[in-house]
Symmetry: C2
Subunit: 422 residues, 2 copies
């Protein structure tokens, strides 16, 4: 099988290395041979191309008769999207790690691949080296999935792990992530939840047969999580992770990215640093979890390579199919979840009772609480409450009512609580 | 695709249920339809066969012209092996959950499948519902694997978890596992390491391209692990798990099943109760971990179903290939590993120094140690030592020398220590 690579960044570098190293494994264990014909990139980097032709003209790859598969590793939306469209239209199979174009144009691109009878491989688009796309589209394709819960942004997980393990502040942990090369110079894409929303849109489309629709993902970042929140959470038996969650309910499919308290003894709680993990809850297995590196050139290239091998072996091609009648994608207002509330109050008699009353009036039951000893200087103390699951709208109203209490002397902080099982 | 099932036990029951429930998912998401033609079992159980024919004549399935794939879920070696051989020879593809026949006859059965140009699906043979066979033979087939580390016997993991979490004794935890249906009435197959050895032989053959050879697996059970060992291990930062490990070294491939201390903060340490997990260390991703239910009718049936879907879609077939020149399977004497030693001594001056001297004379460095306070009644105290990695033979000699010390007043207990990374 003859391939061409567009892009010369970290993942392309990893792929070039793996293609060299894996040639023998491929020949012996998979009965296939991958031949690199050409590499295209707007900028030439000093990388060993193993004799392949180099061109600055990225789009020219789509027109080559001596190439069967185009590997798009440029990132970005404009040129990358154009290359993928042209390649598919020209009857070439495509492998892409580009979550941004898939999360928005996934349905159209899969339809284009089907129309031209070629394959579109997207293993590398979510969770780096973890073969989660194969799990969803092959191993578990017959299974009825209830929920996908992922730690799918390594930067957020690194920051929250550093805050949790070393008591670091958010800003310091972010600065360290940046100095280690985990976070972009503009970190909003990661810590604001955008990157995870792209990935969740892809996982959700594959797990539930709904459209690729990143615009329908509710995304909340981790910038407001404090070391205090992490400490209180631990006292209550939880840690805080940035999660991407999609869930099937009687009303439709939830898609949301936000920080969440999860039980300390859950598998997801053990995922630390830049590592990723995706948990699948389904009717046949109960819960499966897939853990590994969510980024990195060689790890992500491993996923690219797995798609290439699958094409070369002639495996069946992933086609997008809607699951029966259209299932609605739900807004965040339709979500029901438990919440952790940190309420800064003036410590005076009866405050806790008033808070409990307000929660009760909104139909919210308390599962656990922490009331700190009296603060000596300013009489300010936080009251921390974990609630039972409650509709989003009821919680919004309750938080507004709490915020209006005269004894509440700062912003009421709210973080969802998730018990994903497994 | 027309299928027949041999066996009517737990997994067959799970498969019958999943075939009913998944029909719509299969049609919509995987473009395929599975038709159950016949079920065979020596004993008839009252299970809904969905209109399929029933027969007591198991071997007759291999001769049916109206069946494309035989699913062997009987277990045992004699009749099951004969059915699989006959079916493959008759040009029918086979799915089997039978680890015992694969761990011994795997090479011959894969060769038979290849000769008759049919497929042999074995996803269900290891780790229940976890798609670990697909990971090794598809997603990671190009990757160069260094190590496979698995918690692949749920009974052992349940017992060690109960000993660790509730301070239970081995016998009590085993009795509870039996009453919950996790352990066989004769538990030696599980707690003695035989079941895990079968599974490890299969994982190793697929990960490293060596023959299926359960006889070459070193297997040690968990019956000698005590609550004290678990307590001391935790003080030193470890927990104790029953692991199956295969590892590539410069000399060949290690295959061993034994209890091991692993770091408390590792992902494998978080796998509790009857759950299973398999960690793959490879040159491209670093470490991946796959977690899920290692047994149970529906979970294991999920893996059977994934093989059936793969056949129905016409995916490439897994063929056995040796990786280049023959790689030796190493005996346990060729293994190098760190050890935890619990040495019961009479507490008298200089004992620790003599122990340290003996270890040093055998080239063994101490990484950590616990020396308990003096026992009041009988002056017996345990000295606990964790060593650096050392060749098995050196450790055997050191343990013999320690055992011969006059101050050592009981059996020196030794458990290997594994730092698998990830």
């Amino acid at each position: 099988m003859r391939i061409a690579i567009a892009g010369l960044g970290t993942v392309a570098g990893g792929l070039l290395a793996l293609l060299r190293e894996s040639a023998q494994n491929l020949a012996v264990r998979a009965d296939c041979r991958l031949e690199l014909i050409a590499v295209a990139s707007r900028t030439r980097r000093d990388v060993d191309l193993g004799g392949a032709e180099f061109t600055h003209d990225v789009l020219s790859l789509a027109g080559r008769d001596d190439v069967d598969v185009i590997v798009e590793l440029m990132g970005g939306e404009g040129l990358a999207l154009e290359l993928v469209e042209r390649a598919l239209t020209a009857g070439k199979s495509v492998v892409t790690a580009n979550k941004a174009i898939l999360a928005t144009h996934g349905d159209r691109l899969f339809a284009l691949a089907e129309r031209h009878n070629v394959a579109l491989g997207i293993e590398a688009s979510v969770a780096g080296g973890i073969p989660i796309i194969a799990a969803l589209t092959r191993s578990l394709v017959a299974n009825s999935i209830d929920r996908v819960t992922g730690i799918i942004n390594g930067t957020c997980n690194y920051i929250l792990s550093a805050m949790s393990d070393q008591g670091a502040k958010f800003e310091d942990a972010l600065a360290r992530a940046q100095s280690l090369g985990y976070a972009e110079a503009d970190p909003r894409f990661d810590v604001g939840g955008v990157d995870a929303a792209h990935k969740l849109a892809i996982l959700t489309a594959l797990a539930f047969g709904v459209p690729f629709n990143k615009a329908a993902v509710y995304a909340e970042g981790i910038t407001a999580v404090t070391p205090d929140d992490i400490t209180y959470a631990r006292e209550l038996g939880y840690c805080i992770k940035q999660l991407g969650i999609s869930r099937r309910t009687a009303k439709g499919i939830e898609m949301r990215v936000h920080p969440a308290l999860i039980p300390l003894d859950s598998m997801l709680a053990s995922v630390s640093g830049v590592m990723n993990a995706v948990q699948i809850n389904d009717q046949a297995t109960g819960a499966l979890l897939f853990y590994g590196p969510g980024a990195g050139g060689r790890a992500t290239a491993s996923s690219v390579l797995s798609d290439l091998v699958s094409f070369a072996r002639g495996d069946s091609v992933i086609r997008r199919r809607q699951s029966g009648s259209a299932v609605p994608l739900l807004p965040i207002e339709a979500v029901e979840s438990a919440a952790y509330l940190r309420i800064p109050v003036i410590d005076q008699p009866g405050v806790f009772a008033r808070i409990a009353t307000i929660l009760s009036e909104h139909g919210i039951s308390i599962e656990g609480a922490i009331q700190r000893e009296r603060a000596i200087a300013d009489h300010k103390v936080p009251i921390v409450v974990v609630t039972q699951p409650v509709p989003e709208t009821a919680m919004n109203k309750a938080v507004a009512a709490l915020q209006a209490l005269p004894a509440v002397v700062g912003t009421v902080r709210r973080i969802r609580v998730e018990h994903a099982g497994g």
